[in-house]
Amino acid sequence: MKNQKAIVETRSLAIGYRSSGIERTVAANLDLQLRPGSLVCLLGSNGAGKSTLMRTLSGLQPALTGDITIDGSPLHTLKPAELAQKLSLVLTDRVDAGNLTAREVVALGRTPYTGWLGTLTKADHFQIAQSIEQTGITTLLDRHMHQLSDGERQKVMLARALSQDTPLILLDEPTAHLDLPNRVEMMRLLHTLARDTYKAILLSTHELDLALQTADELWLMHPDGKILAGLPEDLVLSGAFEATFARNGFSFDRTTGTFIIHQPVENAQVYIEGAEKPLFWAKRALQREGLGVSTYRDAPCLIRVFEVENGFESEIIYQDRRVKVSSVQALIEQMHLLFPSHTRSGMAS
């Protein structure tokens, strides 16, 4: 896949705003490539300039310096109608077209190909039907846009972009207003689409976890205006991922690929072992309560956890005492009795 000719290529691109002669550069020296069949996630903190990059790549905003090549031709030489056949967008703009049905919205994607009256040909209908099938929105077609949930509406907008039949699709925070199941579904759908349709899909998102799992490539946007591109796994292992989101108050766990909200506690008194599932959740609860978990087995207190059917069982061994508990809540309560100084107030001091 690496040898594929890129759909989008930028050379020493600088993006930003120019108003009344004053330039404000958001990011510079960008040499990026988007290949067909790959899903690329653009990540960065709020204000890092993700939207500016998306707007510049989609031609809604001019580049400050440098070149953008889309499908072989420089972006700025493409007429709007030509560009519309190369890239399609899914934006965060709210669509107020209340009285349009989902079918009509998807059909609007054919706008760049239809004549002056917008009459649809057989080929147009075929493309529309295909986009509907790929996004799985067959049941929504006759409903009006205002009757759809956020997740359904987003899928319809994606189907519209697909029916525009472009080698490149840009999505600006497509998961922003969705709940967790819908976010997961949307990302999985995009991942499959990139594979099946051999399109290049670029999306900006705040879903670090989902991006790590689904993206073929990540573009990490630093607040200082640099973009690091690479395989998600490489970026995690090299520490680049951590550096992009570095903040006081939480750290990134390279092993699990998640951010740790609770800071580690010094001279932890507890060691915990046992079955994988209960171990994960018990550890989490202990960390939240400020009871640090030691990495050494010879810690004063040992907790053993066991997996039982639909439940949890645990044994606390401290000095010569052995206590058995059957819920995480009971475990936490016992621990607070044993280590009164390690409660939440104790952690603050």
Partner: protein, 350 residues
Amino acid sequence: MTQHTPNRSWTLLFLGILAIALFCLDIMLGSVAIPFKEVFRIVTTGESENRAWLFIIEKIRLPKSITAILAGCGLSVSGLQMQTLFRNPLAGPSELGITAGAGLGVAAVMLAGGGSASMYAISQLGISGSWLIIGMASLGSAGVLALILLIAGRIRDNVILLIVGVMIGTITLSIISIWQYFSQPEQLQEYIMWTFGSLGGVTGYHLYVLSGVVAGGLLLAFASSKSLNALLLGENYARSMGLTVGRTRLLIMLSTSLLTGSVTAFCGPIGFVGIAIPHITRSLLGTSNHRVLIPATCLTGTVLLLLCDIIAQLPGSQTVIPINVVTSLLGAPVVIWIIVRRNNLRSSFS
């Protein structure tokens, strides 16, 4: 782009039949009772033994009914385009001050032209006079429309834009008031008669000019239907689908100004048609697709304005009340009904 559901086709057919029926009724009714047979003969053959009847039908009622149709189509399609362009369900020629702008143009001709430029004098001027007044009214509409578009670029909130529109309308009307204050009583009377609105003043050359301009405006609107559909998703989406937004906007503005300007110039400011008809049509047909909506809006506009004209004559009586009063009495409740029924006007277009 839409399959015509049988339901929708029936609605369109019904509207068409209703429009024809009302057109006939409008010609038949009036302060002079003319038998139906005679009316039919005059319309089809153009002959009658009674010369007075012939004159009434050919020179008064027929032009008036045709004017009603032109005004109905022109104002409602103009309102439809504005609602899509501003993405605002409360946009309309009179609501955003476009009619007031046309009024300013008319006032400029009537009041500034001195005593010789009264409506009577203009009708004596014949074709060049009607072009002058249409030109000025369209220019006035285009001026206000351009101003509002400029402000709409900065304000995203529908309700605030509407308030701005009302304010611009008020400013325009105030300028007209100042003008009126310094005008001669005879000119004033002419102008005030014009503000009541009348479908009856358009005859002869004027009717041809008005028909031509309205037809041109409607054609422009229909030609923009694909762009209007794309604009339903918002400007960014429209641009991403290959639309040259600036040019499209200019075309829509041109069509809207021509339609509002020409109708307002000849018939006076007719309120509520522009805002109410597109909503009625949308809820009748359940679509926002402009390829269906523009012709359908014309039909609904025709039906409603003919109905208003029939009511304005107060059938059976000798008096005629101003058309503007009737459309407001009928249109304002429709607007209230829309707001009450859909209290989410900020977000929806239906």
